[in-house]
């Protein structure tokens, strides 16, 4: 329960950060996505089910907060969380480069699903080159920031686990 509350608070903080401070910092037109990094961390540490559920919940909150049609963020972040979870138990989490690579790939997956479904339902008009440039740039930013974020998230996760055990 403590872990769930902490994840909700963390996701809300990431969404607020994204809508305020980071919204004004978009070099090259693309921005950082701290919410995706939270979803990635949960998926890598706790598996595809938890990754998918946290991804869907965070996507829902992002949709509600950002004024977009509800469902688009849910399904794209859900896919990202599920894909991250597939690496649980298979990947060597101590590798320094793992979070960077995972964040890069998950940004590609999440944004591809976002643009694909958005286009499918007529919400997003495709501009392949511009979209690809923006997605690649965003993936690079997320990849760079993912290393400290994942390291910090693992420490937080261990602390939450200890707290849960003490409480239980």
């Amino acid at each position: 329960m403590i872990r769930v509350a902490a994840y909700v608070a963390l996701a809300a903080a990431a969404a607020v950060l994204q809508a305020t401070w980071l919204a004004g910092f978009r070099p090259g037109g693309a921005g950082l996505d701290p919410l995706l990094l939270v979803i990635m961390s949960v998926g890598l540490l706790h598996g595809p089910e938890e990754g998918a559920v946290v991804g869907a919940g965070a996507g829902l909150m992002q949709d509600v907060m950002n004024g977009v049609p509800i469902g688009l963020g849910v399904v794209s972040n859900l896919c990202a969380g599920f894909c991250a979870g597939l690496g649980e138990g298979r990947l060597y989490l101590e590798d320094v480069w793992l979070p960077a690579l995972a964040a890069f790939l998950l940004t590609l997956v999440r944004d591809a699903v976002w643009v694909g479904i958005g286009h499918l339902v007529g919400l997003v008009s495709l501009a392949p080159l511009a979209d690809a440039r923006m997605i690649a740039l965003s993936a690079c930013y997320n990849g760079v920031v993912a290393m400290p974020v994942f390291y910090w998230f693992r420490r937080l996760d261990r602390a939450l686990e200890r707290a849960s055990k003490r409480a239980g």
Binding site: A23, V64, I117
Partner: protein
Amino acid sequence: MSSNSLLRRRRLVLFLVLCVAALAVLTAQLRTPDQRRIGWAGLAVEVALAPVTAAASHVGSGFAGAWSALHEIGTLRTENARLAAEVAALRQENAGLQPAAQENDRLRALLGFKQQQPFQTVAARVIGRDPSVWFSTVLVDRGTRAGVRRNDAAVTADGLVGHVIEAGPGWSRVLLLLDPRSAVGVVVARSREAGVAEGQSQATLRIQYLARDADVQPGDQIVTSGLGEIYPKNLVVGTVTGVSRSGADMFQEAVVRPSADLDHLEELLIIVRDERPAAQ
């Protein structure tokens, strides 16, 4: 069946169920007029997070202000002198313009012109912005308590910005013109040719449904037509930058650059309807 394959199947089922549920919600949303509708739970989330967003925005502005003050401290004296001179010049200019404004008012009265709609406006500060590349909304710090309602138009001194799609007690969400969900009835100011300006997730708008022989040229100013219930008539929307028509098309299309700087919005005015009292 082994426990491993059971686990894999369970994961897959959960994933598919969540995907189908999300897509069902999305398609249901797309059938609503604004392609978005949130219930009381969504509103509760927004109500809970709006003050946090406003606080974060204030803190961010404070940091940005302190940072720029540190940067500018060296040039402060010369800047101050330049500004003082500029203020004096503007005062002089203002004093010169006041008689012209009075004369304008008198001529208006003489010609029997009436303002089409006596606008009441509420000033609002932008406290949040949709971070995605493909949609364009901003969150502002004025809501129903200040008289703002859904479908109120938002403007800056430069031109039209968009309209309110959601309003809470102390916040509202404004759908910008550039959002693909935005469509505004417009006319070409010079020739009064009518069309619909639609957002396309880019820096420009596209005017559709202009008659094939419509008189539209790059440089023409585009204003709202006043048709529909959202936007008052003759608000400046932007300037035509290009016109296209292929041989087989029934209509022309024009590309318009919005007059308002929608990428750097900090404050805006929301036009509240007459029948409601404006807070300020």
